[in-house]
């Protein structure tokens, strides 16, 4: 069925101000809000120009990111009577501004770090707004906000929700302030996108949220008509020089919206102001548009607010179609003739029916959105078939080593928890490829290669979906440590590039030339589930295969501080699981679906979970084994939920608490998923794992349920093809 997705509410807080009116006024004034940084003190030198939000209310222990996000979320929800069904938030650094101060003060009370995780922002919004559905966090660097909105669009089109709050947020912090400077990407003179004399970006902050609904609001602000994702698969930090990925994302967005280039009234450019980005984007625009429509970048006014920018610019696109108003390319004095574009020099009132909004990020992660006047264009035709993914290859890494070593120990009923040595993890990786890579990207690449090899596919996967609870902890730790130790003078550009959550997925894309969607999700202990959910939303029928990966590294300093399930005396464990999958069930080793994902605080959650699995009778008829994920930090709550689930469903299958075997780490569920897949492939569950004889997965009762318990309830179903 055709489904239109309307924009029912908007929220924005940026250096331009708070709210739609203030934003529009600043844009009409063609005013730049870029000023020298004064948010945190610097040990050396003149502060660089940044886009800082002014006048944000202080609140004792809540990081700035969370406050920015809630501010925008409340605005977007102002006219809604009910909470959204789900929240999808783009974010790159979580509560790191607070974490940086805590680490410098050598604070070791882990309670103080509870807002560090990227997922903590979306979960905080869910709690404040009373959202009981999925709170998903997308971290694809500077395209995060746009990718979050693209995921929300698919979720709505597929009828998995009726109202989704989607957007992006990032606060200024030392990591990004010094990181982008170390890459020599910051313009000391402000930010002048598309100017012949441009020297870079201005790091900024902000938040923007869109309330997206399939039910037509009384007064829709605009319609989200389409979205397109791609990956450059070229370089961890630099865009493809010809704008190849940018072009593909724009083409995909137009195709998704069902529009021709001539139907676009205005392009809101990514336009960061770095020489390379603007040139690559210009080439892509000129390739797609024989005669480009009016276009501009607003980053000379706002700066580049990273994960927020795609959402902020989606709000600006909505203002453009709602008010027939096009913002100027603030800060551009002499357009660079090499770009061959004519940016808007003045704010312009002009009839605007459809806007293309571009966002490109590190890792070559690109996301483009098409926002149009409501009901002006025909609804895009539905293109998706049944949900569900077919697993053709799998691999895992644990303290025991690779897939074979892990499964051998598990078959003996022995734990596999621990941290494998780096050389072992890197055994299947070319040394030159990984010389700059620390633990998490190596884990990820190794999983990706092994899973693809296990599939037997000759064709390379086209898309990558990655879940990681904590991201690249080694790179983050090393960057912040060297920054502090050198008196803020000599931070490492390599560590900065490696510190982004989507770095490992970007490296995977480069390795395979995977130029399709490339999404990294960070949902704490549910990160792998979120990646799988994203893959199920975005993978098209007939498309080539995709990789779905879940990995976390155990870091001796940061893991015990950040992960609530890891105490100082907990055995450090890490690893993950990887799958090569597609929509083709023929020849598949097994099938996987993710039928349930909800906040556990929701009333009647266990009953809803049982219903989503087909009811007690179906459960008993189908499921031979339950793998239960109960993180140590929520053991009591999780055990209670498990007991309630077993009591209400009457399920008679054996239960394996898989963290007893994998150890405590956020993406342990990815290893559990590999366990499930391997049991189905071999047709039996080893007896020593279920304290009895080998359990045959035969007849009708041959499915395996992997439950995530604790703050959220999630279910993954593995079954025979």
């Amino acid at each position: 069925m055709e489904k239109r997705v309307y924009i029912a509410g908007l929220g924005i807080i940026s250096p331009l101000g708070e709210g739609l009116a203030a934003t529009e006024e600043a844009l009409r004034d063609n005013r730049s809000a870029i000023r020298p940084l004064d948010l945190f003190p610097l040990l050396h030198g003149e502060p660089l120009p940044t886009g800082q939000v002014r006048g944000l209310a202080e609140q004792s222990d809540l990081p700035r990111t969370h406050r920015l996000a809630l501010n925008a979320a409340r605005q977007a929800m102002a006219s809604a009577n009910t909470p959204p069904d789900a929240i999808i938030l783009g974010n790159t650094t979580g509560g790191i501004l607070t974490t940086e101060a805590l680490l410098r003060a050598k604070a070791d009370n882990k309670e103080l770090y509870r807002y560090h995780g990227l997922n903590s922002v979306a979960e905080y919004l869910a709690q404040e707004l009373g959202c009981c559905g999925m709170a998903m966090t997308v971290s694809t660097a500077c395209s995060s906000g746009a990718v979050a909105i693209a995921l929300a669009l698919e979720m709505l089109r597929r009828g998995k929700a009726k109202a989704v709050l989607a957007g992006g947020v990032d606060s200024l912090c030392r990591l990004t302030y010094f990181g982008f400077h170390s890459l020599q990407l910051v313009d000391r003179q402000g930010c002048h996108p598309l100017d012949a004399d441009r020297h870079g970006m201005a790091v900024a902050e902000g938040a923007a949220m869109l309330l997206l609904t399939t039910e037509k609001p009384a007064r829709p602000l605009a319609e989200l008509l389409g979205a397109g994702l791609s990956c450059d698969a070229y370089h961890p930090a630099a865009p493809h020089p010809e704008g190849r990925g940018a072009l593909r994302a724009m083409q995909a967005a137009l195709a998704d919206a069902g529009l021709n280039p001539t139907e676009i009234s205005y392009i809101n450019l990514h336009g960061t102001g770095t020489p390379e980005n603007d040139l690559a984007e210009a080439k892509a625009v000129r390739t797609l548009f024989a005669a480009p429509p009016p276009l501009s970048s607003i980053k000379g006014a706002t700066g580049h607010s990273l994960a927020a920018s795609g959402a902020i610019e989606a709000v600006v696109a909505a203002i453009a179609v709602a008010k027939d108003f096009l913002p100027a390319n603030t800060g551009c004095r002499n357009p660079d003739p090499a770009l061959g574009l004519t940016p808007l020099r003045q704010p312009t009132n002009q009839a605007t029916t459809a806007v293309l909004s571009n966002s490109f990020g590190f890792g070559g992660n690109n996301g483009c959105l098409v926002i149009a006047k409501a009901d002006r264009f025909p609804p895009p035709s539905p293109k998706h078939g049944k949900a569900g993914l077919a697993i053709h290859g799998y691999a895992c890494l644990t303290g025991a080593g690779d897939t074979a070593a892990t499964l051998t120990l598990l078959a003996q009923g022995l734990p596999v928890a621990g941290t494998a040595d780096l050389a072992g993890i890197s055994a299947n990786l070319p040394p030159n490829l990984v010389r700059r890579l620390k633990r998490l990207p190596r884990l990820t690449l190794s999983l990706a290669l092994s899973a693809h090899q296990d599939s037997g596919f000759e064709a390379k996967p086209a898309a990558v979906f990655m879940g990681t609870g904590w991201g690249a902890l080694s790179e983050t730790h090393d960057f912040l440590t060297r920054l502090a130790d050198s008196g803020e003078q000599f931070p490492s550009p390599t560590d900065f590039v490696g510190s982004v959550h989507n770095g490992p997925a970007g490296q995977t894309a480069i390795l395979f030339g995977a130029s399709g969607a490339n999404i990294t999700a960070s949902g704490g202990d549910y990160s792998f589930e979120q990646a799988l959910f994203a893959a199920d939303l975005m993978l098209e029928e007939g498309q080539k295969s995709a990789l779905v990966l879940g990995a976390d590294e155990g870091h001796p300093v940061l893991s015990p501080l950040l992960d609530p399930s890891i105490a100082p005396d907990t055995l450090l464990a890490d690893g993950g699981g990887g799958f090569c999958l597609s929509r083709k069930t023929a020849g598949a080793q097994c099938l996987v679906r993710i039928p349930f994902y909800q906040r556990s605080a929701a009333e009647g959650g266990i009953k809803a979970l049982i219903d989503a699995l087909g009811g007690a009778q179906t459960l008993n008829g189908k499921y031979a084994l339950l793998l239960a994920g109960i993180p140590a930090a929520v053991r009591e709550e999780g055990e209670g939920q498990l007991a309630e689930f077993l009591a209400q469903s009457g399920l008679q299958a054996p239960v394996i608490r898989y963290r007893e075997f994998t150890g405590e780490f956020a993406s342990a569920s990815a290893v559990a998923a590999v366990m499930a897949a391997s049991f189905l492939a071999s047709g039996k569950v080893p007896g020593l794992l279920v304290s009895g004889d080998d359990l045959a997965l035969a007849g009708k009762k041959n499915a395996i349920l992997v439950l995530g318990l604790g703050r959220y309830l999630s279910a993954m179903k593995f079954s025979r093809p």
């Binding site: 020599q184 961890p236 040394p431 010389r435 700059r436 003078q489 000599f490 931070p491 490492s492």
Partner: protein, 88 residues
């Protein structure tokens, strides 16, 4: 100059983790960036930081970096010419 060159070889192999290379088979006249070593723009920036930290020589890579980092010999030459307090 020889001492500086030898020192730079060790430092660059270390900070860029060039495992296949030893100071003995690192030819200072070979192409450094974009050549067989696989050294790219991020490595250049890492070397920029090292040169500033260890030699007090600031390089704005966007303008002059490409020429300076064309080979290890040219980098050593640049450091020698621009070291504070030293006469070229």
């Amino acid at each position: 100059m020889n001492k500086l060159t030898a020192e730079l070889k060790v430092k660059i192999i270390d900070i860029l983790n060039l495992q296949d290379l030893s100071p003995e088979n690192f030819d200072e006249n070979d192409r450094l960036v974009g050549g067989a070593l696989g050294i790219d723009s991020i490595d250049v920036l890492e070397m920029v930081v090292m040169v500033e930290r260890d030699y007090g020589v600031v390089i704005n890579s966007q303008e002059v970096g490409e020429k300076i980092f064309s080979s290890l010999a040219s980098l050593a030459e640049y450091i020698k010419e621009n070291t504070p307090g030293s006469s070229p």
